[in-house]
């Protein structure tokens, strides 16, 4: 970033751009959550599974502009997440709270991610969304935390909140936390 623009940014005159990586198993609700955040959010009738990835940019009230890389969660694309680790400042990991069966798969993927060399060196924060809170019989955030072994993450900041991707409920709370983390 040029000197002039970082000066303006520090004064809060222009918004700082932050790259965020959005991961999680397929069908967790990542794309749905992002759609709800877009300013010009046209209510989407149906979400198609993401083939590869998508980039969305949106502003928040926190003087930040988020550029979110919404990754596909399908098995064959999970190995490709790592291409984006070096250039993001935070990771959002979406868990499908209604999918107890695949919680262990999510845990595996999380572990692989945390063991990645790039991320071991970069202590960027992780925001967990326990999504689909509206589904009855789903896991609570603390159950999710238990199922994925989040308590074992000691070397970086993280938090978990319950969300509803369709209504957007709970997403704001999580982003507030993230904005605080990313403040200088």
């Amino acid at each position: 970033m040029g000197l002039w623009s970082s000066f303006l940014t520090s004064l809060g005159i222009i918004k700082r751009k932050v790259n965020i990586l959005l991961v999680g198993l397929d069908n967790a609700g990542k794309s749905t959550i992002i759609n709800g955040l877009k300013v010009s959010a046209v209510p989407q009738t149906e979400v198609v599974p993401t083939v590869g990835f998508n980039v969305e940019t949106f502003s928040t009230q926190h003087r930040l502009t988020f550029t979110v890389f919404d990754m596909s969660g399908q098995g064959k694309y999970r190995d490709l997440w790592e291409y984006y680790y070096p250039d993001v400042e935070a990771i959002v990991f979406v868990i499908d709270a209604s999918d107890k069966i695949r919680a262990c798969v999510a845990r595996d993927e999380l572990e692989t991610m945390l063991q990645n060399k790039v991320l071991r060196d970069r202590k960027i924060p992780i925001l967990f969304f326990a999504n689909k809170m509206d589904v009855e019989g789903g896991m609570s955030p603390s159950e999710c935390s238990g199922a994925l072994g989040l308590e074992e993450i000691k070397d970086r900041n993280w938090t978990i909140c319950a969300t509803n991707g369709i209504t957007g409920q709970g997403v704001g709370v999580g982003l507030d936390w993230l904005a605080e983390e990313l403040k200088y």
Partner: protein, 816 residues
Amino acid sequence: MSLKRDDESDQSLYANLDKSTVLQEARVFNETPINARKCRATLTKILYLIYQSERLQTKEATETFFSITKLFQSQDIPLRQAVYLLIKELSTVAEDVIMVTASLSKDLTAKSEISKANAIRALCKITDASMIQGIERFLKQAIVDKNHAISSAALVSSLHLFGNSKDVVRRWANEVQESVNSKGGITQYHALGLLYQIRQHDRMAVIKLVQSLSRGTLRSPLAYCMLVRYTAKIMDEEEGNRAMYESLEGWLRHRNEMVVYEAARAICNMRDVTPKELFPAVSALQLMLVFAAIRTLNKLALSNPASVAPCNLDMENLITDTNRSIATYAITTLLKTGNEASVDRLMKQITGFMSEISDDFKIIVVDAIRSLCLKFPAKQGVMINFLSNILRDEGGYEFKRSIVEAIFDIIYHIPEAKEYALSHLCEFIEDCEFTKLAVRILHLLGVEGPKSATPSKFIRYIYNRIILENATVKAAAVSAMGHFAVEVPELRERIRVLLTRALDDNDDEVRDRETFSWPTLENGLVNYLAHPELQRAPFDIAAIPTVTRCVAAPGSADAQRAYAAAMEKIPELAMLGDIFKSSKPVELTESETEYVVSFNCRNTINDVVLENVSVAMTVEATTTSSQPTCHWREPWRPSTRIRCPRNIYVVYKRNSNVTPVATFGNTLKFVVKDCDPATGEADEEGYEDEYLLEDLELTTADYIQPTFVSDFGRTWEQVGQQHEMVEAFELSAITSVKDAVTKIIDILGMEACDGSYSVKDKATTHTLLLAGMFVGGIGALVRCRMAYDASSGVTLEIACRCEDPEVCERIVNSIV
């Protein structure tokens, strides 16, 4: 602005790009926020490298690919365009390129139409057959998009996808049909192309498509050109189809020159086109006379010079054209259409700029001259001089080959030119970098040299090749020498000395020489040299048969030698003398049955070679009253392992001077013993069994050895008419002259001379010249004149000249 700047600094920016430096530079893609201008510059460099054929490794490509995916966060449209371009380039090298599917699909809904069009192209490049259904919806929409850039991008992409996903693309036929009627010219063109691909294999559908469009709904000249080609193709698929000629002729009056040309060319290329049909097309071409038009006329001039002749005046104006390609075509067209008087002038003109045109055009010139020589034999002097001059020029293989072939043609067809042309070829091989050409020329020298007035003058050239060249050329030179030795008695002694020296050559070359076949002569020589007692008499070259078959068909000669070698090992058979002729193998059983027996007939005294256990032969029918007696040779009698092939030789003795035609019935006799499948050991006891084989025929051809006569005409005259017999036959079952030639050669088992075995596919008349030696050393010549006519088949007049009237009669009558 920035583009202009790039242009100006093009030299310094792109001159010395290094791949690894540029790929390092690609780190800028990972920066936040994105500097669009810088990224674009780097993308351009990578693209430049790729367009310069720089190859990226898979790993490099994949890394680059993933870093450019990050550029999707920028909304800068020029940057996005560059990203599309690089995605397309990397799509075949990098891994996991489907990663950008979602991002590209999103761009399809973007506002920018140009992004949309390019996103479609990139998307289709990264999509594989399994993913295509996912984007089908977008593509179908895009095909009928009102924006021409978008619809044509979708159509062209579909055309590419069609190769691997025919069924999916076929489902879009309605959309494609709709866009054929689009207002956009380029869309029409691409839609028509795709629609044709989709319907291509349904002839009726294509005809309907072409007919409906012929009524003039198209606007795009490009689409019209396609339509003309499809029309021409439909016509070409069916002989004599002229149903659509009127459409073609109509298009000759199209307001767009491109369409006019295409239609004219289609007419010129019609099969069996008549002068009347050609007339409007040639007139149309004459009016434009652009490069393409001249090229078409040039080609037409080969087959229909008279139809092109009306353009001659206009062509004359072009022979000095500064565009040498146009001038070349103009001159060579004139050479083909003009009269003898203009030849010298045109040749002079073209000699002036031969050095300025490329090999491709030089070949065009040579081909024109080649056909000209045959047309105006009187001009051969000028032509040969011209050809031998350019033969000395620099040039590639194809060019040199075309010259050599032209000279060959002249040698074959213009006897007066032969000597002169041969001497030019001799000079050429003195310094010829193309082995293939040297070999062909040496072969020709071997064939034609001995017949020339002073054969001796060629010996030096040929012998130089033996000393100086690589093994292949050496071998060819030895063969050529052999020809001289055989045909020119005065030179024999000299050649013997030279060849003896050659025999001292190292093994390598001797081996090569053998593969190139002068084995007979060589064996003879070796034999001669190895036995001092033989040397008291001069080397009797007449004892070496001049079989040239082995040059034409080495396989059969090899087989013959193999048989000879096998039989020599059996004393009783060796006693019978040299093999006169090995006939073609005949299958006596269906090949699935276990007892495959191949049959060889040997003819000084006839013997028959059979494989496997034992064969009983009985004479079933014969043309002579004297009953031939059968003698049995059973070299061994295997008890088991029938599959393992062994030879059984059956000797059939014919009474002296009788050469009967016979049919043999054959029975395979053997003892069957059961084998223990586990140990493979046979039972002690067996039972006798026999197996009836197909009949075997002994025909006249089996008594004739193909021989080669170098100058058929002269020999024919020497034998004279007093020894001639003529018969005429109607071969109604044979449907072409070509077939007739093959059959006759087969039936008579003689050698075709003077290249008379080659017949054009559609020829209706032909003269076949055959030579052979009947058993007992009786030479025979045959001339077959044939004519084909659809109603009566092939009419054959066969004339045989042979000093033995009986043989003469035999040969003539063996046709029926």
